[in-house]
Symmetry: C2
DNA sequence: CGGTTGTTCTGTACCGCTACAGTAACGCGG
DNA sequence: CCGCGTTACTGTAGCGGTACAGAACAACCG
């Protein structure tokens, strides 16, 4: 015996509309998805009936299953979305991706690398492909993606054979930045880097995937400094913000500031500092000011990225420009191409590797050393 | 005749695994999704077989269809994602949403309100519910969402009966800001607002949905100014950045700067300025500096939002704090509740309306007028 | 006028999974 | 040895679409 309780809202599906108009379900489907498959007159009639019945359109989930495409791509980011969103470089990248994606009809789903409870985004979210951005390969997330057989593009990661990647010329940019200081006459140069390692084997290993960028920049700085016979004063940033959630105390910043202060209070303090990012450069400038040092008279500071902050700061920051939007565009293009290729069964003979150029932008935060 | 061409990669599904182990497909499904439904021994055997066959787990799309849930929520934002991402208030909100969402297993899909080509995100993306954030209701997107019968929560929008909403006390905050200036002794006060309207009927109308916030703030400022018998010097911001895409010239900023400059060059220039946002306040300070005016000695400036920029600026900005993270949390909570309610068929008797408090934060950008 | 072509609509067979009802086997008290 | 509550597993019937191979019929052509 069927339960007497009537379904209050019987879901309106293709069939409902089809019955109403007196055509086959397929015709209704075509009316919505392939207008060229039926006469205009009938299509209008179907659409009218659909509107009347409150049928909005093909159910996205059902369509995804039947078509075999999800209509969305994922962006795999740091576990801490708070970090990702507060970083102007990351958001600029995302904006470019979103913008580039729009005309393709694909939408953008944010993936965290962390596995909260039973749910693993990289495994459980329907998508047609994914961008792996600024996140360690160590997180199982990348594994899930590849195991699912999803097209993937690496951004700012260590390139891996067989996987398309987009990078910027971090090393070259860093080299130019360091050379700039050398050319200005600086001999004691400090470096404020993010967590990184000098051991290439470690960097190459999957466990240190997201250190790639800092390592490359370090290499670039060393290129120029070594050539000039200089040895930098190092300062490492505290480890990456693991569980740095919105609203909590900002550990990394404090640790950073302290380290920089120590460096600037050395008897033989550096006359110039190379920084991993504009944000770090900003912090360095603040610390310098607190210590009564003028920038650039007493201390030259160079950033990296040329984020909006660099222009906003005073003094305006000398930095290395990378084309964040271009990176987003290139990554998106590479991914959509890979998705297309996967669809048609084509095996991309060689995974494309894109390396975008960087460019030194000299502004007001660098000058020859005093004395 | 079936095509002789063999399927190169036969897709591995539940059935494949089931056949291999010699159990029913249902058992394999349970092994993955409901471990308590079978013996541990068998489950392990199934999992092992799955691993061996390269079966990653239930296909998300198929699962979504069968279960009737998409496992994702959408956030409807301005057409220009570039704008959304470059705004610290918006990104802070998003970060909070993402963070709050994580434990629920829901992921986050970005929806643009614009309809590019045939694809309309709000209609075509599988999701269980959506947040409507900082986007005009005029865009058909909201219509699509509601027509689909999706649970929706409005954030910073004009509250609509029957729809849960989260707002902050914009008016109260603005009032406090204006009162602060009045109390300091200012009599000539300028206002730099975003596009807005004074016509309440227009604001209430759907066509002007995203002007709600600017209108509320305007009301708040007026509350205090009117009470003090003052009439503000108005300056409107240019219209919202319609097609302000990444990398393009930044029109709004320029227009803004020009307008502010005009205001500050008046013979009877204001001694204090109230701004719609911290970003605008920042621009005002820059213009003032260019004109040789000192802040706060010659000009007091008040922002809104208390975004990170406010603390970063020099002088540190007096502003009105709103709890962006709290807004994100509240919105997410409201949405998940609504989704839950929808699932169990419960009709939420009354849509909840949350209004978060605001608080004046006095820093260094305001002082009594000179003379 | 037979044959080819084109348009418009239909029928069937999935897509891969889950809900739910049901069956078989087992343990156990009486 | 029967009845009965558990536990472990299975079968069926969808979820709501789309792909693709026809079928019906008109138009066109030599």
């Amino acid at each position: 015996m069927t339960p007497p309780r009537l379904e209050v809202v019987t879901r309106v599906t293709l069939q409902t509309v089809a019955d109403r108009v007196g055509v086959s379900r397929m015709t209704v489907s075509n009316a919505f998805s392939r207008p060229d498959q039926l006469s205009t007159a009938l299509r209008e009639k179907v659409l009218a009936a659909a509107a009347e019945l409150g049928y909005v359109g093909p159910d996205p989930a059902a369509r995804a299953l039947a078509r075999g495409t999800a209509g969305a791509i994922g962006v795999l980011m740091t576990d801490s979305l708070a970090y990702a969103f507060s970083d102007e470089v990351a958001t600029g990248f995302l904006a470019a991706v979103a913008h580039e994606l729009a005309p393709t009809g694909l939408s953008l789903t944010l993936l965290t690398s962390g596995e909260r409870g039973e749910h693993v985004p990289a495994r459980d979210v329907p998508m047609d492909g994914a961008l792996v951005y600024s996140c360690g390969i160590d997180s199982g997330a990348v594994d899930w993606l590849t195991r699912r057989g999803l097209p993937v593009v690496f951004v700012d990661q260590v390139p891996v054979p067989g996987i398309p990647s987009v990078n910027v010329d971090d090393r070259g940019g860093a080299r130019a930045a360091a050379q700039h200081l050398v050319d200005l006459g600086h001999r004691r140069i400090g470096i404020v880097n993010r967590e990184h390692t000098d051991d290439p084997s470690l960097v190459a290993a999957t466990a240190a995937g997201d250190l790639h960028v800092s390592h490359q920049r370090m290499l670039g700085w060393s290129d120029a400094l070594d050539a000039a016979g200089l040895k930098p004063v190092l300062t490492q940033e505290s480890p990456r913000p693991a569980e740095w959630t919105a609203g909590k105390a900002e550990r990394p910043e404090d640790a950073d500031a302290r380290a920089v202060r120590e460096m600037l209070e050395l008897p033989d303090r550096p006359t110039a500092i190379l920084c991993f990012s504009d944000v770090m450069a900003y912090r360095v400038v603040r610390v310098a000011e607190e210590l009564g040092l003028r920038v650039p008279e007493d201390l030259s500071v160079v950033g990296f990225d040329d984020s909006p902050l660099a222009r906003r700061m005073r003094p305006a920051l000398t930095t290395v420009r990378q084309d964040v939007s271009g990176k987003g565009r290139a990554a998106t293009a590479a991914l959509t191409a890979a998705i297309e290729a996967a669809k048609t069964g084509h095996k991309p003979s060689r995974a494309k590797r894109v390396v975008l150029p960087t460019e030194l932008v000299v502004r007001d935060s660098t000058a020859p050393p005093a004395g």
